[in-house]
């Protein structure tokens, strides 16, 4: 079977939209972080697919993806550290309770 580029792009878009939806609707910080990972992974998938199908001669998209995965890991590490601090301060990770700063 011949797989066209759409077989990859449609799941990538679905992943991105799921990520945005999850980020907006989830109430738990960890779940929000997972949604963010979905969005980042969808971008990575896009890079790889465009590289493979449109520009098979070069490697730039693939290399970019490697860096982007590393950056996503760093982001998660910092976010988790801050979430742990929040957990220590208020005893849970519910965004509805992180609401002192607003006027």
């Amino acid at each position: 079977m011949d797989l066209s580029i759409l077989w990859y792009l449609v799941p990538s878009v679905i992943m991105f939209v799921c990520g945005v939806y999850g980020f907006v609707t989830r109430k738990n910080l960890i779940a929000m972080l997972i949604s963010l990972e979905l969005m980042l992974n969808s971008a990575d998938l896009n890079f790889v697919v465009f590289n493979r199908f449109l520009f098979p001669g070069s490697m730039e998209g693939m290399v970019f993806t490697l860096f982007s995965i590393a950056i996503a890991a760093a982001e998660t590490a910092i976010a988790i550290a801050i979430i742990i601090n929040i957990y220590r301060a208020i005893g849970n990770t519910d965004v509805r309770e992180i609401n002192k700063l607003k006027h």
């Binding site: 963010l36 971008a43 465009f50 590289n51 860096f67 006027h103």
Partner: protein, 496 residues
């Protein structure tokens, strides 16, 4: 590989060198010696800044064209350095306080790493290097925002900051992946510009550019993407707030200009001209309207900085070397004005813990010098004539109207009306300080030497930057000198 290429990265090497010295000193020195850390870092940093000002930039692209340190890039780095130097001076009292003692080294290390990231953002001519710079500028900042470990507000601000930062970089990356699809297989700014000028404008390209605009707009807190700003500014330690509001914003604005003119310059009128108009109008107006009802000084400064970001972006629609020069001058003036205001806010907060505008009532009776400095800073931010803020606004408006298009005249008109609105809330602070008849709530005190030095530098900048033409000339000259290398990629496209 040719290692002499690293010689072109002088500003980055200087910042990394200072970072390593501070890190090693912090790790291996004894308890007593650690007291010297703030002064050591500040002095080293001042020397580094002088070196960046003096040593001419080599405009040769290095590392296959990924990195270039043109005179304009070098100038903006020097300007950012002045801001960081003032922030260092302001924060000495906070860094020396009891709760900060064991981690004062970390403060300087994280700050220097974010500065390094901003340098890369400014100098990158390839999206890979740009993204690395952007992330190494924004991730350590989240750690800095969470720096007041004992205070809950600091954590709340940090979680809001990191979540929106990651969300925005996910959107930015997604936009870049679509840009990559149009780029002909390369992520160099110049290659993308060439590919876009040949190809046709499609809906997907519009989406891609809108995503990139949104991702960068988060960093700059332009208006539909500004919601994190006020909370983060309020919760973060005040020294970090002042850093966030000027240095981080200045670097992002410059990078924004470079990316949008160099990369997407070819599709300016087709794709992002109207997007940027809408964003600028919304930014200036919403920032102004929300600033009026703020009572907390840090939130007040947050909304003021949102509307100032809108004025900064005016330089980007001028899309000429004059626009970039005016934008750099605006960043410089904004750095001294905003840091002047923050120096006063910080001094008062660290001495008395008071942050509300009402607490400033009758301040002139007890602290006349602080009142004087705050008034000058507010006048400069509002753009009242003899001060630097007037000249920076004037020059950026002239650079925008210079292109002569009717839409841009309307844009400047809206910006002008907003300047008048902004007078109202800037003068509210002045009114509280000088006119309000209430008994002063803040005791008379003598601030520490370092923050007084920071205040003097800011006040000198506010008074003299507008009157001494050298600074503006320096910005324009550096842009002109970079003409061949920075703008040559797009200039033919604008003409054609």
């Amino acid at each position: 590989m040719d290692y002499s290429q690293f010689g072109a990265m002088l500003p980055e090497l200087i910042v990394l060198g200072i970072f390593l010295i501070v890190f090693l000193f912090d790790t291996f020195s004894g308890e007593g010696a650690k007291k010297a850390l703030p002064s050591l870092t500040t002095i080293l940093f001042a020397l580094g800044t002088v070196a960046i000002w003096i040593v001419p930039a080599s405009a040769e692209p290095v590392f296959g064209g990924m990195y270039v340190n043109t005179p304009a890039c070098n100038a903006i780095k020097a300007i950012l350095n002045v801001g960081v130097f003032i922030v260092f001076l302001q924060s000495v009292k906070w860094v020396d306080s009891e709760s900060m003692k064991i981690r004062r080294g970390e403060f300087y290390e994280l700050l220097l790493v974010t500065l390094f990231g901003m340098y890369l953002m400014v100098s990158a001519r390839h999206f890979l290097l740009f993204i690395i710079g952007l992330e190494s500028a924004s991730l350590p900042l989240a750690a800095l925002v969470a720096f007041n470990k004992k205070e809950y507000e600091s954590h709340e601000a940090a979680i809001k900051y990191i979540m929106t930062a990651v969300f925005s970089s996910a959107i930015l990356l997604c936009g870049l992946s679509f840009v990559y699809a149009f780029s002909g297989g390369s992520l160099y700014f110049s290659d993308i510009a060439v590919a876009l000028s040949i190809g046709e404008t499609s809906g997907l390209l519009l989406v891609a550019i809108a995503f990139v605009l949104a991702g960068l707009g988060f960093k700059l807190s332009l208006v539909p993407f500004h919601l994190w700003t006020a909370d983060v500014y309020e919760g973060a330690p005040t020294s970090i707030t002042s850093y966030l509001s000027v240095v981080s914003k200045g670097a992002a604005a410059f990078a924004f200009f470079i990316i949008f003119t160099q990369c997407f310059g070819a599709v300016y009128s087709d794709a992002w001209e109207w997007m940027l108009y809408a964003v600028i109008i919304a930014t200036i107006t919403v920032g102004n309207l929300f600033a009026m009802r703020q009572k907390n000084m840090k939130r007040f400064m947050a909304f003021s900085s949102i509307s100032q970001a809108g004025y900064l972006m005016l330089g980007a629609v001028a899309d000429s070397s004059l626009g970039l020069g005016s934008m750099m001058f605006y960043i410089f003036v904004y750095i001294v004005s905003n840091l002047g205001a923050f120096a006063v806010i910080q001094t008062i907060e660290y001495q008395t813990g008071k942050l509300n505008m009402d607490d400033y009532n009758g301040l002139h009776k007890t602290n006349p010098w602080l009142s004087f400095a705050m008034t000058l800073a507010m006048f400069s931010l509002a753009g009242i004539p003899p001060f630097a803020g007037f000249f920076s606004k004037f020059l950026i408006f002239t650079s925008v109207t210079g292109t002569g298009s009717m839409a841009l005249y309307m844009l400047v008109l809206i910006a002008l009306i907003n300047t008048i609105i902004s007078l109202y809330y800037y003068l509210l602070v002045v009114k509280a300080i000088w006119i309000s008849g209430d008994a002063p709530k803040i005791e008379s005190f003598r601030s520490d030497g370092a923050s007084r030095a920071a205040l003097w530098i800011s006040v000198a900048g506010i008074v003299f930057f507008g009157l001494v033409p050298y600074i503006y000339q320096y910005c324009i000259d550096s842009v002109m000198a970079s003409q061949d290398s920075i703008l040559s990629a797009i200039l033919p496209l604008f003409v054609g």
